[in-house]
Structures are given as C-alpha cells and as structure tokens.
Assembly symmetry: C2
Homo-oligomer: 144 residues x 2
Amino acid sequence: MEIACFIEAADRHCQQQGVKLTALRRQVLELVLSYPGVVKAYQVLADLQKQRGIAAPPTVYRALDFLVAAGLLHKVDALNGYIVCHHVGCSHEGLILVCGDCGRVEELDATPVLDVLRQQAGAAGFAISQQNLMLTGRCKECAV
Amino acid sequence: MEIACFIEAADRHCQQQGVKLTALRRQVLELVLSYPGVVKAYQVLADLQKQRGIAAPPTVYRALDFLVAAGLLHKVDALNGYIVCHHVGCSHEGLILVCGDCGRVEELDATPVLDVLRQQAGAAGFAISQQNLMLTGRCKECAV
DNA sequence: AACGAGCTTGTTATAAAGTAACATTTGAGA
DNA sequence: TCTCAAATGTTACTTTATAACAAGCTCGTT
C-alpha cells in the first residue's frame, strides 16, 4: 500500500526537521492521501467527522497548515485546496501544474528553468519562493 | 493622469474583442487602478458603495470576473485579490510575481522561459494557460 | 414606434472558506 | 511530581463567494 509507505517517509521527514507528526496530523495526511487530486479543507473536515464523530474547522486547518509548512502538502490557492507533495525527499525543485478544471496535478522538475527565473526575478527585486510554486492550466482530458 | 490613459486603452481593447466596457465595469476598473497593489473584492465593494450608495457582492464579482476574462485584471489567488494587468496590448507573455507578505506585484517578461516550460508541460499532458501565470515570493522590502 | 432576444445589473439569501480567542489536554524535561 | 510549552478542543465569528430570480437596458427587426 502506497499510503503506508508515504506516511513512513513523512514520519522520517518530520523527525529530521524536529517536528512532530502527531496522530491527528497523520490522520489528516492520510485523508488527503486518499484522494487522487486536490482536496478541500471542508472535505477533509467531513471525513474527519465521520472517523471521530466531531471536529471543528480549526482542527483541520491547523493540521493542514502544519503539513504544508512541513513540506508534505502543497496548498493550491487557485482551487482552495490541498495536494500531497510527491517529492518530499527530493533535492530538485518542483513546479506544480494544476488543471483548473478537474484539479489534476502534475509536478515537473523545473530546476533549470527556475534558475533562470530566479535571476530575472532577482533583478526585479523579488525572491521566488522555494515552495509551492504552481501554475495553472488544462490537462489533456479537460482540454477543449 | 495615468488612469484615464489606461481606461482609454482598456476601452479600445474591449472594442477589439467585441465586448462592452460598461459604466459599471469601468468604474470597478478605476477603483482597482486607484490602488498601488492587490485589492480585494470587498474593498472594491466598499468603495463602490461609497460612490453609488448601494451595491451588493454579485455586482462587484461580476464586474471583476468580466475584467479578468477580458485580460484587464489578474486574479491573485494566493491573496484573494485582484491587480491591474500592465501589459494589456503587449505581445509578450507575462509572468507575475506576487509578494506573499505585502501584495506588491511585478510582471516579468517570461516568453523564453515559458516556451521551455510549455514543452515540458506538454510532455506531461498539460497545457499551461496563457493568462494569469503567477508565482509567489518575497519582495526586497519584505525579505527577511 | 413597438416588440422581443439577449446581455447586464439589481436584489435577496445563503453557501463556502478561514480565523480569533480562549479553554483544555498532553507530553517531555526539570 | 510539577511545570512549561506545544497541541488540540470549542465557540463564535469574519471574510469570501455564489445561486437564483427579478428588473432594466440595448439594439436590430418589423
């Protein structure tokens, strides 16, 4: 099962960073993992409520925020949702493509391109962030 | 005054596209233009209410949606806001950098980089959109 | 002018997304 | 065991966004 494997990697990743993947956070991570693409916070909340009877928005948002900060999830602003980061241990930099229609996600290795962009941005007084770099588009299935 | 000039350009742009820059839409565009950076829908709504007494959310959202569709504004998902597009008539492709802290915005000419990215994305079954390409980061002032 | 089709705007109500503030629990170290 | 800090629970609320239907406007046709 892929999920278990990912959770294990996540666990190690958190230990390395000196942060704690608590039971709740793990549970939320598993819920997000159980979806093929983008998930919304309130969807996770509903799932969590099914599993433990009751849960309030802050519970989910805090866990999601933690997981994003830890680099285990990405926030997809364009869709108000979250996706799993499939390059947790990787050294190269990812650029995430999100289908604005269906929420499908693809992560490119964009290290070379980003090097160029960083330089351009630097000249304009900007530092492009290390995380959560994302562009929107349309996937093959949703193409007109 | 720069605003008047921009509005004129916007007018021409809309005529070319066969869409109408109505009084309301123009008014909303002017309000967005009056801000240096990112503006939020409800901020525009408040301004609009000051100017015309009453206005409801759909009024503003519809105008903003129109302006985005027409290419006159960009939506900044990361901040739930909108900015003016400073390259309305331009042929080259812009890539927008948004400071996640202060909302400052910079538009790069990223045509060459985007050519490369399009190819990579195409190989992965994705078509990167023509509009609203945006990355987040930190501007000089907000840098740690 | 009168009409109607289609776009634009007004209006009401409500849904969806996110957070502030404080109470309570838990767990690791003194 | 005690204590502090981090994590979670809880309540209430704010902010953001949209659905659904009514009314108005514009423009071409008769």
